[in-house]
């Protein structure tokens, strides 16, 4: 089997996440982070003294604290350690795992802890995201991460009723998944018989993007401990291997709305590269589970097509036939996804963490009911910035070459 060159193998050996909610006023930032750090160390069965380096990430503009990693040292345990600070918007959580993967694979550090967090109720998320746009022009027009463009595009391509129904069906499916996840910020108890009602009555945000379609704003943190192969095999009974990750970046795309529909988006580009260099010809068959960064149901629906390199209406069919449900042939976001839980700096790292828990078989009530050997996890941010991870249960892909 083809593989991407990596200096040495890297495994996830510890995972900890806080309880997520819209208001974690019971703790301050370092205290909240500490909850995740403690859980991850306990999960790995090591102490903070075993950790060589930290990678810390969030969106500074959301809480308006510059260099929060300094304040947070009391919660992270980073005193005297190498620390990297990364802030790449919604992508942050995935980028910090990527940095961790790279600095362990390179041989620089043996054990690295990545920490993603956000306390969105402390600031103004839409205001913060709006300030991300270039100050010369786009900032004056932007409305945070809200756009109805994908809804409009999907409706144009597949007809109003089918498109709206598929997006809402996906929404209900993921709400059912969130109900199984005790860490999830929110689950409304939605059912499929509410689809018509929600399609008509959920308040509109922008165009056909409705309130129920959109992700939450959450407070929460996640910590993931990565180790090189030698250490991982010593420490962990169930290491989850990061086989490869890819990150794709591009200039702002505010300038192509309503046109250029055939231009390759970064999700498609990232998946094409990742699958190509690892010899994955049929991702739907290869991967047992996909934890996607789905900020809205319209995007979740559309991005199935981009990531899985699907043609025509295959992605709609996957949702309509419940293939993406936890019991389906290609479970999507058994955790409930971003739509249920979204502490932004942690969100993309939670995708990797949840995918790894699935591989370990430790996801609990939202564990998919069959063995998970291969998992996919994505991050998204900016107007289009993709990070895509593939995780493996065994190191068997190495043997072929």
């Amino acid at each position: 089997m083809k593989k991407h060159k990596k200096n040495r193998n890297v495994a996830i050996i510890g995972i900890g996440q806080t309880h997520h909610s819209s208001h974690r006023e019971d703790v301050n930032q370092p205290e909240m982070i500490h909850e995740a750090v403690e859980l991850a160390l306990k999960d790995a069965g090591i102490g903070i003294e075993d950790v060589d380096a930290l990678v810390h990430g969030n969106m500074e503009l959301f809480e308006m604290v510059h260099q929060p990693d300094l304040w947070h040292v009391i919660g992270t345990g980073g005193y005297g350690k190498a620390c990297y600070r990364v802030t790449t918007g919604g992508t942050t959580g995935a980028t910090i795992v990527g940095v961790g993967d790279n600095i362990v694979a390179s041989g620089l550090h043996d054990i690295v802890m990545i920490i993603g967090f956000e306390k969105q109720q402390e600031g103004h998320t839409t205001g913060g995201i709006t300030n991300m746009a270039d100050p010369l022009w786009a900032r004056n027009l932007q409305t945070g991460a809200l756009t109805g463009a994908t809804a409009a595009k999907t409706i144009k391509e597949f007809g109003e009723d089918r498109a709206k129904r598929a997006a809402m069906r996906l929404r209900v499916t993921l709400d059912k998944h969130a109900a199984l996840n005790p860490h999830a910020h929110r689950s409304f108890g939605l059912d499929y018989d509410q689809i018509d009602d929600l399609m008509a009555n959920s308040p509109q945000l922008v165009g056909e993007l409705r309130l129920i379609h959109m992700c939450s704003q959450s407070d929460g943190a996640v910590a993931i401990i990565l180790a090189c192969e030698e250490k991982a095999k010593k420490i962990s009974k169930k290491p989850v291997w990061i086989r490869d990750h890819v990150t794709v970046h591009r200039e702002e795309t505010f300038n192509m709305f309503g046109i250029n529909e055939n231009q390759e988006v970064t999700h498609h580009n990232a998946a094409r590269k990742l699958f190509g260099r690892n010899g994955i010809t049929n991702p739907r068959e290869y991967f047992d589970v996909f934890e996607m960064y789905d900020p809205s149901s319209w995007w979740g629906l559309d991005w199935l097509r981009e990531f899985l390199q699907l043609e025509g209406d295959e992605h709609l069919k996957m949702v309509e036939n419940d293939e993406v449900s936890i019991n389906g042939s290609f479970p999507l976001n058994p955790s409930g996804g971003v739509i249920s839980t979204n502490p932004i700096g942690a969100t993309a790292a939670l995708r990797v963490a949840e995918a790894a828990l699935q591989v370990r078989g430790d996801a609990g009530a939202h564990q998919i009911p069959r063995e998970v050997k291969h998992a996919l996890a994505s991050g998204f941010g900016g107007t289009f910035w993709t990070v895509l991870f593939m995780l493996e249960k065994d190191l068997d892909w190495q043997e072929a070459e």
């Binding site: 205001g127 709006t130 022009w137 786009a138 945000l205 300038n255 192509m256 709305f257």
Partner: protein, 386 residues
């Protein structure tokens, strides 16, 4: 009255006038209607007039600015913070009709309902400490039984038996009590805590002493003063509020600068990539795809064709002013004439055109009389109707 989380719907409305915050209601002139269904529900009108509020129970909710409908449990739960309001709203348990912004504003107009603090002291608690409070040196030579008949909710009957400098406590009343204190539980607690004067209580008939008054008078010496357990104060979690307002200035550079100069002259400039030929508007120094300098400035538009309308219902803050934008309004992405097919121009649509404008319609900029080189040199685009 049906209670939810120990609170009735009436409790919420009856305290609303007391919870009114004048400073949170400045400039508000609105009638908030509440239609609360289920046990303990009803209809209420809350009229906020700038610096005053009137809450009334009614059958007629007409003339409201916004109406909130919910079942009693959800309503109480949200008001006392036991149920997440957004969650309840999104799952359809709370329905809002009319000006939705007022619902958010009402959170500023009233302080949150809080449960009246219950006394931590109970009659049982007082008797639990009775033996510990016994003062043998003041009971020398006594051989008596003292009865307590504490009536009402939380009451009970006890007999303290004092003999040979020792005290024991029995439940129930002995027949041979030298004196029996008969008092309501609430009054007894107040007496013990010193909130109710014993002579006043006796005078008012709230404390009856059956038997030897003299012994009753000695009781405060025989038993030391009851010290209420220190109330375990729930720690108030202090939240620090900040409003950051910073003056910023951003250089535009020669390329964007040229574009802004053009706007002052009512001209829209794009630039062209010498390699792939694509046009960029607003112009950017390089073509990011070809990684080369894109120098040529070419005037385009000002008319164009809409490729996408985005109708915004969510009111986000205007980053320039911090003010909440009025909704709905529409953003449009426009292919300006002469731009080719690869680059849309992003701006606003005239509000009056919102109802009948669609993708493919032709639009034209409406120029601001005062142009300074900014996005606002164009007020908005309007539909061309000839």
């Amino acid at each position: 009255m049906a209670k939810y989380f120990d609170v009735s719907v009436e409790d919420i409305f009856n305290t609303m006038e007391a919870r009114f915050r004048v400073e949170g209601a400045k400039g508000v002139n609105a009638v908030l209607a509440y239609d609360i269904s289920g046990d303990g529900g009803g209809k209420w009108l809350v009229e906020v007039r700038d610096d005053s509020v009137k809450v009334s129970k009614t059958d007629d909710l007409s003339g409201f600015s916004v109406k909130t409908a919910a079942d009693a449990e959800t309503f109480v739960g949200v008001n006392i913070g036991k149920i997440d309001g957004t969650q309840a709203f999104m799952s359809g348990k709370i329905k809002i009709e009319g000006d939705m912004a007022l619902v958010a504003a009402s959170a500023k107009m009233f302080t949150r309902y809080s449960l009246p603090k219950k006394s931590a002291v109970t009659v049982q608690g007082i008797f639990d400490t009775l033996l510990a409070r016994f003062q043998p040196q003041n009971a020398a030579g006594l051989d008596i039984a003292v009865g307590y008949d504490i009536t009402g909710d939380g009451g009970g009957q006890w007999t303290a038996v004092i003999k040979d400098g020792k005290c024991s406590l029995e439940t129930g009343l002995r027949d041979n009590c030298a004196v029996v204190n008969i008092v309501k539980a609430k009054d007894y607690i107040d007496l013990i805590l010193g909130k109710l004067d014993p002579m006043v209580a006796i005078g008012a008939g709230r404390l009856k002493l059956k038997g030897d008054m003299n012994i009753a008078m000695q009781l405060p010496k025989i038993f030391a003063k009851f010290e209420p357990p220190k109330e375990e104060d729930e720690q108030e979690l202090i939240v620090i509020k900040r409003n950051i307002s910073v003056d910023m200035k951003y250089s535009t550079g020669p390329v964007m600068g040229k574009f802004f100069e053009g706007l002052i002259e009512k001209k829209i400039f794009a630039n062209k990539c010498p390699k792939c030929g694509r046009m960029q508007v607003p112009p950017r120094e390089v073509c990011a795809e070809c990684r080369c300098w894109a120098g040529d400035m070419i005037e385009v538009g000002p008319d164009g064709t809409i490729t996408l309308i985005e109708i915004i219902y969510y009111s986000s803050p205007d980053p320039l002013t911090g003010e909440t934008r009025e909704t709905p309004y529409a953003q449009v992405h426009i292919l300006l004439d002469g731009i080719g097919t690869e680059e849309t121009f992003w701006h606003l649509l005239k509000n009056e055109d919102l109802a009948d404008t669609q993708n493919g319609d032709r639009v034209r900029p409406v120029w601001n009389d005062k142009r300074v080189g900014s996005v606002h040199d164009i007020v908005h685009f309007k539909k061309i109707r000839d």
